[in-house]
């Protein structure tokens, strides 16, 4: 498969009923690494992620991948802020993306089982997924997203309802994915997590890309006063 990256967004904007949800945004993503998206509630993190992923309609501007859009769509995955569970067992949920890609059932289930063990769901393969706890559902969603070995993985607050130990496990899975060449774009409200994972940081405020840069410089010397205040835990209006 040809390379997806770089991803280039120019003046990308998402509008809904006359309201601007996010944009205009200019950005460029290239190579492996983890981009962390931060910003207050309603800043437009979710909207930007789905815009880049291609599930939200682009109202103006452009988003281009290095390969045709069809291929690009197949080589990405998305983990939702509110995980969607198929009304099936855990293992069948995780195997689903493989089944869609016509992987034989037996092989799909075997790979799904491995993936489930990696996120700590090995003991509940045959449980009915919609009845899992919130944290378990997030783990499932992550396993399901990773099973196709996407080149780009979008994650919308993937650890929002996880306990400390689960978070550590997930983070190690994410860094492993980065090591194997995946580009991750992840939103979070957890500044500790942002510092642990980020290679680059995007700071969104009221739909605009307010500040951005390599993690090392952003966390030590943020350029804007709002970013500084946000990092300190102050309320940013």
């Amino acid at each position: 498969m040809s390379a997806l990256l770089p991803l280039v967004a120019q003046g990308a904007m998402s509008r809904r009923g006359g309201r601007v949800l996010v944009g205009p945004v200019d950005l460029r993503l290239d190579g492996p690494g983890i981009t962390v998206l931060i910003g207050p509630n309603g800043a437009g993190k979710t909207s930007l992620l789905s815009l880049l992923h291609g599930t939200a309609r682009l109202s103006s501007g452009s988003i281009t991948w290095a390969c045709p859009l069809d291929e690009a769509r197949h080589a990405q995955a998305f983990v939702f802020q509110r995980p969607v569970m198929l009304r099936r067992s855990v293992i069948e949920n995780i195997a689903y993306p493989l089944r869609i890609r016509k992987v034989p059932r037996r092989e799909a289930l075997a790979r799904a089982e491995t993936a489930a063990r990696r996120v700590g769901l090995g003991e509940m393969l045959n449980r009915y997924a919609p009845l899992l706890s919130g944290g378990e559902q997030q783990k499932l969603a992550l396993a399901r997203a990773l099973i196709t070995e996407p080149q780009v993985l979008f994650l919308d607050e993937p650890c929002a309802s996880l306990d400390g130990r689960a978070m550590r496990e997930i983070e190690s899975i994410l860094t492993a994915a980065r090591a194997s060449g995946t580009r991750l774009v992840l939103s979070t409200h957890d500044m500790g997590q942002a510092r642990r994972l980020a290679d680059d940081v995007l700071f969104l405020l009221r739909g605009r890309l307010h500040d951005s840069g390599p993690a090392t410089t952003f966390f030590t010397r943020p350029e804007t006063p709002q970013a500084r205040a946000f990092l300190q835990g102050d309320i940013v209006e």
């Binding site: 599930t55 939702f80 969607v84 198929l86 009304r87 099936r88 045959n126 009915y128 009845l131």
Partner: protein, 234 residues
């Protein structure tokens, strides 16, 4: 005037002795209705899923039409099918009037809107739930439909059961297109109408009890099958 007790004992007697005529009529009832159900499901279920998934020009119109057709009087369906299948009608050459096939056609027409409407309701709900995920996974339309049909199979079973109930208890349409011919198109409901016409309430009631028992048995067994399929998984 009506001897319910007499009817009940006669019904029990007929069932216990596996009265050949009763067995024949019951099997024919089942055969006609199950065939109609099978045909109706293969039409209605994909249609219901398609209506949920694809936005096309006539979508709203078709949904409204299906809802309206749900209340279609069976007698009218029977009449229309009759006129079409009659030798002097457009499909007369097929020679289908007064055959079980004609009854299957009529029952199918009657239950397709019902099954499609009920199925569409639940598939639409499921689609609202799955929408973002399936769009994100870039799933093709056929795959969407298959996923939705499979994951709402319980609700679809209920829709099919509703269709079965309506079809097996229907008399107006199949009387018209089947003709209630002994050993050919006589089914439980038309036999009941006939026995009532003869003033033979005992036998009519017996047939009625068999009809009820049959409907209940099929409902229970489908529910039971649905449960075992799930097993002790959850």
């Amino acid at each position: 005037m009506v001897d319910i007790w007499n009817g009940m004992t006669q019904a029990v007697w007929l069932m216990l002795t596996l009265d050949p005529e009763l067995v024949e009529i019951s099997l024919r009832s089942l055969r006609v209705t199950l065939s109609a159900l099978l045909v109706a499901c293969t039409i209605a279920l994909p249609l219901a899923a398609l209506l949920a998934v694809r936005r096309f020009r006539w979508r709203r119109g078709i949904i409204a039409l299906l809802n309206a057709l749900m209340g279609l009087p069976p007698v009218v369906v029977g009449l229309v099918v009759y006129v079409i299948l009659s030798r002097s009608g457009p499909l007369g050459v097929l020679g289908l009037l007064f055959t079980p096939t004609a009854m299957i056609v009529a029952q199918t027409v009657i239950i397709v809107p019902l099954i499609a409407s009920v199925a569409h309701q639940s598939i639409r709900e499921l689609w609202a739930e799955y929408h973002d995920l399936l769009i994100s996974m870039n799933v093709s339309e056929t795959q969407k439909i298959r996923t939705l049909l499979w994951d709402s199979r319980r609700a679809l079973l209920t829709a099919a059961l509703a269709g079965f109930g309506r079809a097996i208890g229907e008399v107006g349409a199949i009387m018209i297109v089947g003709g209630n011919i002994d050993h050919a198109t006589r089914v439980l409901t038309t036999a009941i109408a006939l026995e009532t016409g003869k003033g033979d309430f005992g036998l009519a009631l017996a047939l009625g009890f068999v009809l009820i028992a049959l409907a209940v048995a099929v409902n229970l067994s489908i529910h039971w099958l649905g449960r075992t399929e799930r097993g002790d998984r959850w």
